[in-house]
Amino acid sequence: MAKKFMFVNRRAPYGTVYALESLEVVLISAAFEQEVALVFMDDGVYELTKGQKTDGIGMKNFSPTYSALGDYEIKNIYIEKESLEERGLTLDDLQHLVWEDEDDDWAEKDSIHLVSSKELAAVMADQEVVLSF
């Protein structure tokens, strides 16, 4: 029986490797047919900002990989509203992540759910395995 896996992202990209390497785990998890939820809170919300240009720092821009999550059936992505607001961001500042529902004529649907802390608490309570990075 599939387990509910939650991946918690609380760190900004590039300053440390956690954002990149946690994304690699998430992509691998797709092959195991578990119920995967991705949570972005605190500085983790910065991982999804649009327009990341890394030439100047000599690091690979891995942000395009997030848009592939939908292809891997990773479609339950939770972003904490409070974390966004603290940082003066809105969903418009973040990548628009989608997935295609084959049960609905491949209709494109939003993967990102903007949730309050309280709503996120309920989501987290429901999970069975938590991976932190």
Partner: protein, 130 residues
């Protein structure tokens, strides 16, 4: 119960590996089964065969090697993280054309899937990191 452990940091730099080791020892003493200990991020550095830490303090790598031997633990080092950080076993070194390998006894290199499996198969997964 069946427990899995994830260790995200290398030896000495952070307490993660020490905390995980103490936790693992206590769990084993209580009769729990450790399904797997998975080393990710800088945690792969716990598997270095070349460490020569000062003699008057614990030898973190050796502690894991000994615990592995005593309890037949499955200590897995993530191959992607290991390649990035220069931890190679004999096969990997050959495959990558490197002139040396440096994995300590008791550790094995494998894919990230082993971490997911560790979460699936165990009753509990505990993460130690920064």
């Amino acid at each position: 119960m069946k427990l899995s452990i994830q260790i995200n940091e290398g030896p000495y730099q952070h307490q993660a590996s020490d905390s995980a080791y103490q936790f693992t020892k206590a769990a084993l003493a209580k009769g729990h089964e450790i399904f797997r200990v998975f080393f990710y991020h800088d945690g792969v550095n716990n598997a270095t065969r070349l460490g020569v830490p000062p003699q008057d303090d614990r030898n973190i790598t050796q502690q894991w090697t000994e615990l592995q031997k005593e309890h037949e633990l499955d200590l897995v080092v993530c191959i992607a993280a290991a390649q990035r950080r220069g931890l190679l076993d004999e096969d990997e070194a050959k495959r990558q054309g490197k002139d040396a390998n440096n994995i300590a006894e008791g550790f094995r290199i494998s894919g990230l899937g082993q971490l997911i499996e560790a979460g699936i198969e165990a009753d509990r997964l505990v993460v130690f990191g920064d």
